[in-house]
Symmetry: C2
Subunit: 329 residues, 2 copies
Amino acid sequence: MRIAIDAMGGDHAPKEAVEGALAAAREWTDIEVILVGNSAAIEAHLQNKPANLTIRHTEEVIEADDEPVKAVRRKKDASMVVAGRLVKDKEADAMISAGNTGALMTTGLLVVGRISGIERPALAPMLPTIDGSGVLALDLGANMDASAEHLRQYAIMGSIYRNKVHGVAKPRVGLLNVGTEAMKGNELTKAAFPLLEEAPIHFIGNVESREVLRAECDVIVCDGFAGNIMLKSLEGAASVFFSVLKTEFTKSWYSKLAAAILRPGLMNFRKKFDYKEHGAAPLLGLQGLVLKCHGSSDANAFKNAVRQARIALQNDLVGAISAEINHGK
Amino acid sequence: MRIAIDAMGGDHAPKEAVEGALAAAREWTDIEVILVGNSAAIEAHLQNKPANLTIRHTEEVIEADDEPVKAVRRKKDASMVVAGRLVKDKEADAMISAGNTGALMTTGLLVVGRISGIERPALAPMLPTIDGSGVLALDLGANMDASAEHLRQYAIMGSIYRNKVHGVAKPRVGLLNVGTEAMKGNELTKAAFPLLEEAPIHFIGNVESREVLRAECDVIVCDGFAGNIMLKSLEGAASVFFSVLKTEFTKSWYSKLAAAILRPGLMNFRKKFDYKEHGAAPLLGLQGLVLKCHGSSDANAFKNAVRQARIALQNDLVGAISAEINHGK
């Protein structure tokens, strides 16, 4: 299992990526880690390089504010693009990056390439739920518009991911909608509903966005626009709540006392609802494994992404998706 | 100003509707209130009926679980339908109902009728914001799918409503989107953006759902599907948040003490975020004024809806929308 890590992506590059890669290489000796990026910058954070960690030197970097498609096309020696090419050329089985999300999706599409039969790859992060189990949401932004057939493919890919990577035996797949009855929704969800009923998944029907946090399903399927509206509404609400709590907690000396009592429980809750805490998001539907880490990822987040990649590779996630999508063809 | 109230709609019908109507008729002697519903049931809650309050007897009621279109077509003597007909026939200037939302939208469309030039009426509730000012969101569910032209009309209607009813001099209108840059979004928002730029409104560009609670705009425009996803995500997050707080508050005797200190401030916050507290939602684009009260409305909510209707009538909301939509035609 060869895992390429874009060492130059993310807010704390290359330090956190390198330290995470190092920790992962030490913990799992059955993997090979390839750090892709500027070798001098990488080596500055590398002590006692283990045998299963190598460096692939590159000169260029895709910046956070680069225009994704242009950047991927022009910066052919960028660490992200080179990592994608390693996967494409079967020199690596997986790639991990905390860089520019749009550029990573473009790298996935143009460099790694789609699985034959897959119309659109989908970005699939885990959203937090109140019970801590989480729900895989897709598509969360790889494509703003979707067809019913796209949603059907998202559902299949999401279900296989939850099964292969998280060990959920029979993932419950829900369709994000405005009501639970079968005929609710817009033209898209009405067209997708019967396709999901016939798909090789455990489809539980429509799920409203207010129930997503309550872990009503293991996978929630939506177009990228609706998914983004849901995600940012949840984030926005959480941000407002915690800022109000902070105000209430600092109002007076006795509210500060109260805050001291309640803080541990609430911080635990806050951590549970921190989207950064829920691991890397796979970009599903590609010919190799591509994982997107949050831009602010620390070494531990990178190490956890390697853990995720390792499990996905052990269980041949990409092969399973390809086999199911092309079943009977 | 003659205001018809569907006395039979809502969870606490007819008691709360009747008591609210009574309080309103007593407070504002420049209005006439027409309570529409079963006269015996209404009179049971009426003491000392003022001269400006009359009853219009009807036999039928549209129930919460009735199929909207069928119910409106078949139950021609239902209190909601009769209230709509009073508006249509110019026997009333406005109607208020806390009944079945779908049926009320159908009554608006089929009984009251659209303003000439308006393609789709829109349901426009106020969403809470952290500063207490609120944002008018439309469409919130009258139509799941929308065209760019529909969004343009929603924007104009919402802007006029905020100006005429809330006295906002130059309402800031935002387009609900997944990013703030002009070319962000799905096919719909990309097509709507230039139309909104040219519309006779103060268009401030795209607004992300996470910023809505922070009162970045006075009107937020969206299709009914996306609006519903946003609204229910915010509601879901609020519900989870307060249930976690409750758990934390009751964990031990000292957390109960802390809770006692913080409760007033947090209850104030909770009230601010209670969607029921933000008045009735207008159904904009109809030939008469139609206001939807929350199903759980109490007498005070009905009275406040009458207050809203009175201001809208005093400022000729419907005439202003009609004039602007047909301007230059």
